[in-house]
Subunit: 337 residues, 4 copies
């Protein structure tokens, strides 16, 4: 951590800041420069209260050097974490694919889709029973009935289930029916929900918020780990930018950054990341090539009748083709699908 | 609503889309153009399922013309809504100021700050008892003890209290102690919390999410109104952009846009909107000048000891000066403070 | 400047970086921390080549502390600069308004508008003769004929003229006809044009690029000052963000930031900043209230016939009202219009 | 094109808009809806002046349906364009790689790098002789001396040369020495430079501006084609977003969008797109996998001594590895490198 003093800061102001630092039990390293003095701080960063320093006279700005996260950081845990969901493992050489409809709409729909995605090589089934929708007038999901359908899919096709929790109550319900809890982009900083997920014995799929920095994403995961649940898989699903040719801007540079900074696996969601069927194929290839630890893809047997996100859902034939291509790409970088 | 067909769409594809529209009980208005055909849709827009159309062959894109919100729209309710919090009214000629510390830290702190902001002309007291923090290791608020302190402030200084709910449980607690429920930026799309707020008898201060469009902000308010609570005050608090000279980019154009589009009042939060004390004064003046229906300002008696957001808190003397200036600006545009 | 080493950096790697710094004639201040070592650098920052350091083994990142600009910085020149354009002065207590049509379309149009804006209190006349347009098929301006019309406006109404240069050739032409050279947002980093403007004897109005940080804006001004022309007025005109309710997001926090960081005046352009007539009035009030050193406003006598940007142009009656209001707001903060 | 009337628009206002449209020689298609009337417009869109309509009473907004570009659009030219630079072809099954240092620094440097990148399979050599730099105090390039070095590289290694023009003068010089003219991100909307490039006989590499939409990128290319030069290769090089873990956010969804919308090839620049060596490899794989028509990569023999952008330059050994991997990925999608 570094406190940068204003060019006009007096000797007394600099000394006062040094004293404040030492009063916190830390070491101060003043560095007088040509234009300004900077003061380095070493010691236990947990003990630093920024505001105590930034509000002092003569202080221009505070620069953080150390990352604020711990349990999720690679420095704390140098080996890759392997996160298990049933027999599926995220974070190893194998790259699992989660596929299924945006919303669970009926048992028929789910069975038809599950059969096809299983055959094509998907490892898990996805589908929303509780849907966070921008409008209160849009379809909000089948609720527990949807969870029951998902459970039948698991039993029939032996596909572990991932589905979204939108609050502590739905999370508790999901624990009785599913294998992995999804926390969506809109809830990435819903700390009550994160803490509740941290007390679950199920693994968590945590999606990046629409305007979250990667530090914020990792801090959200830190909430879950800090409560005792180490099984978190991160998910890049596109960020909000000025660009208007896609629904979101899929930020694939997040993948190598997270790999370098954290031991947690990170998957890619090209369906939400682009919002249009005709880009899902290309961005799935790119996601595997960049090193994503998994894909989550929307597949619908009749997208023109979907109750949500039909425009970005693939039909099963398109999903077959996609799987063929990404398997070959995975092979090029010594991974398997 | 408008369906734009691809330039290469066949006559059969166009007719199929027209038929789908009519099958939904709506009217289709095909408009053959030089390059493409567009098909206008009129009738009850609630009945249109986008996905049914966007997934049909030959369809290039769907363009929405009608806004998706209803109860919050000015077309539905042409008069300005006046939202009462105790004796304070938002949405009329008077421009209320909510002031107080970011976090409730102690009774002493709150009493000192309350006395000063009341004297300077604040209409309400703000302070967080439940704090949503990026890091699980940061101060998370005093909880119910903080609410008890806020209640004492109200009793002693006759200032209605606004404080943040972070989940349905804390919202229920707040109903016993406070006068207005704040829903913060991170929870703007926490629909469980919005629905719970819609069932409260207290008015709600709803902050814009960090990357929320104004349509999304208004749709979030629609959730509250749709549950039966018409008392919502919106709040612009800065958006996330590439700009790095402030913590957020205060988007003051939101104020005239909301006034034109909705009947709900909208206030401005220049403290979070800028994140630095030295900009709060200037942006408060701008907020009143642009027509904000209120201000929410962080004031701390000792910002260098604040447990959160000290860098953006004003000291009471600075708040006195600010109030003097903004009162004069309000007068210029025929409002009062 | 600070070099942050990786947590796993060896003693040898740290010593190698220290040596590199000393080889550049600078002082290195290593600060061993709990997790990582950081190395502060003091001395003449001009001499530091980032790349030499960032490419060394064990280096995690380089953090810049000192701002990169000089001639434009307030540390270099503590007093406000007063920039004169004829008898008009930017940067003092008086807040000049530049008004006129987006494009010069005809002598009649300009004379009608000039008479009205002069009567309402504008200090300068604006109008484009060379128009940078997104499409090659849009109206590109009258060229030198437009400049001749502007010169007549100046002679008849005694209003100094500001008009945009799009390349060195048009800049040379403008020097023969106008009083101030505008460099537009799209050309803010057109360094050939900036250098040419730096050799001109006319003052320059430099607009912020659509995605330029304020450091980049100030560095662009630095190019002009470095060539010998100290007369630069900066202009905030809205940035590109995800927000879709305005054409651009007017970033009014830029005004207090620039005032603190630089001695150059900065004006606001609410016409381009919002792109809609119905927001220009409100954002002009906010611009004056926040402390802008001037306004630049589009006024057209018949906006429905404008060849460019009609949707954001005020009619003269609207401009009259705007001027009345902003004059009163200027008075509140001890400025005059 | 669609004119949306306000809900409160009168019959007279609607008729007036219809008449305006017909007066322009176009057809109006009024569609009365439940809440509002919309008016479709068909005919020659070139003739529509938005402002004439948007400024009329009762008009809420104008929605554009037809894309504004022509010569660059796939509707105009359905086949992929093949752009030749010497014997290298962009836009076919072969995916060329342009590699070399950010700046030309010396003949030795260029020869060493050229030998290595040629051996690894690069098709063209890149290197800047005229450098657009944020600071006037940074290295600005060797100028014509740099071009002479590039010419020697071409002669010795038979690698066509691409180098950046920053104004019409440098473009003219480059025509005597190089094989392809690069127009950089900062100059994407420098229309004087685009027009000059449109009169050149050399092909042009046009980079996307930092905050340019794809429509704006294609319109910039339209300027070049409209002047008579059909040989344009587009380049995605990262956009500016709030994300702070990379220098820019590489927007790979641009590649499939451009392929669908235009016949021009588009390459990817993962060096500028990420700004860090450790992400170049991963994002190069993703770029080829997504379908980019080429790569442009910075390679430096001694990046720690580079005069610009050292942090994002690969060393030759890293480039060798990268080429091996991307060749295999290209094979998966039936392309060659």
């Amino acid at each position: 951590m570094l406190v940068v003093m204003e060019g006009s800061a007096t000797k007394e102001q600099i000394e006062a800041v040094v004293k404040s630092i030492e009063d916190m039990g830390l070491r101060a390293h003043p560095m007088p420069g040509a234009q300004r003095t900077a003061i380095g701080i070493t010691g236990n960063k947990q003990m630093v209260k920024d505001a105590m320093l930034s509000a002092q006279p003569g202080v221009l700005e505070i620069i953080h050097v150390t990352q604020p996260f711990k349990l999720v950081s690679r420095e704390f845990h140098p080996e890759d974490s392997h996160i298990k969901v049933g027999d599926v493992v995220f974070g190893g050489a194998f790259v699992p694919v989660m596929a299924g409809p945006c919303s669970v709409e009926s048992e028929d729909q789910c069975m038809v889709v599950a059969e096809r995605v299983k055959a094509a090589g998907a490892s898990m089934f996805r589908g929303g029973a509780f849907k966070p929708r921008t409008s209160p007038y849009d379809f909000q999901g089948l609720g527990e009935d949807g969870l029951k359908i998902l459970k039948k899919v698991r039993e029939k096709y032996d596909l572990p289930i991932v589905t979204e929790a939108v609050d502590p109550e739905t999370l508790t319900l999901i624990e009785s029916y599913a294998d992995m809890i999804q926390i969506g982009a809109r809830n990435m900083q819903n700390y009550s929900l994160l803490r509740r997920a941290g007390k679950s014995s199920l693994p968590v799929l945590l999606k990046r918020g629409m305007s979250a920095t990667l530090t914020e994403l990792l801090m959200a995961a830190e909430y879950i780990l800090a409560e005792g649940n180490p099984n978190v898989v991160l998910c890049e699903r596109g960020i909000r930018s000025f660009a208007d040719h896609t629904r979101n801007t899929l930020d694939l540079s997040a993948i190598p950054y997270v790999h370098r900074t954290s031991h947690l696996p990170i998957v890619s969601d090209p369906s939400h990341g682009t919002g249009r069927r005709d880009k899902v194929d290309a961005l799935s290839r790119a996601s595997v090539a960049v090193g994503a630890d998994g894909l989550i893809i929307e597949v619908h047997n009749e997208p023109e009748k979907a109750l949500s996100d039909g425009a970005q859902s693939l039909i099963p034939d398109q999903f077959d083709n996609l799987m063929n291509t990404v398997k070959s790409i995975a092979g090029v970088i010594n991974r398997r699908m």
